[in-house]
Amino acid sequence: MSTTPELAILNPVEEVLRKDRIPTIWCPGCGIGTTVNSFAYALMGTGIDLKKTAIVSGIGCSGRVSGYMALDSFHTTHGRAIPFATGLKLANPELNVIVYSGDGDLTSIGGNHLVHAARRNMDLLVVCVNNMIYAMTGGQAAATTPGNSMSTTTPYGSFEPEICLPQLVDACGAVFVARWTAFHVKQLERTMAKALKKKGFRFIEVVTPCPTLYQRRNNMGDGLAAMMDYKNSQQDQERRPHLRSGHGARRRYHRR
């Protein structure tokens, strides 16, 4: 059994993490950290110059990702990670600029910036961690909260349908659009690696569990239950493709 705290070899992802910032603020069963693993391996695997790589986040649980990465980290205002990243990239084109933020941040308050960065094909990689709720503020309905879901601001169920991000970003002209879940760690790593090597506006949505603030109010179990759901629904869809019209968030969208 290897439970000794002093390990002979370090966790490889620590190479790109700010070790003095761990433990993270994320809840048990939260999937944001899992997406960070895929991102870390993608960064290391592609061999891009980490000194020339900046990560920009907005506000929210996923907005804290930038602060855990041992890169040039910018934790900006709510919704404005993309325009900050736009300025960073324009003024120093040598930088690889990655925006890593949440669904509420990028698509509600920052929706206009997402639309226009895609339209102008700004050379950014945007990773949108979609936990379907405003989690940092205590579980309020977001633009990505599925219809009929319970949240603190929709105590009778949300009346509004959710937004489909890949279709939105695709319509705005993004050159690379992908969607995975936190269950698909290897696929996500490969997609991130591919996106890191590509130029232009690249968008990856990752659906993640939020056990504390989304699933608990909707009787959806813990983080592991959500991960199992992602796994099983993918297998369902592979067996019965006609079921793909459902929520859609759990299927891979498309890449080009």
Partner: protein, 81 residues
């Protein structure tokens, strides 16, 4: 003879169980012991089955576990898959 093993930093663990569930060879189990924060970190129950594939490390949201392969006598390298 196991091909690899896992390293666990118990104090980082939040007991989500992702590593236990998604280990392809079912090597792990949440232990009954607590860490300082009151979570049950995983431990190996069938160490001989571990392939060192590091899927547990990919899933762990808290960077508390990772897998690594044992040195291959035929000239392989140490480190995660």
């Amino acid at each position: 003879m196991p091909k690899g093993s896992v390293a666990i930093t118990a104090e980082r663990c939040k007991g989500c169980g992702f590593c236990v569930e998604f280990c392809p060879t079912h090597v792990l189990e949440l232990s009954s012991a607590f860490n300082a924060k009151g979570y049950h970190p995983p431990h190996m129950i069938t160490a001989e089955k571990c392939s060192g594939c590091n899927l547990c490390g990919m899933y762990c949201p808290d960077f508390a576990i990772f897998g690594y392969k044992f040195p291959d006598l035929k000239g392989g390298k140490v480190g995660p898959a």
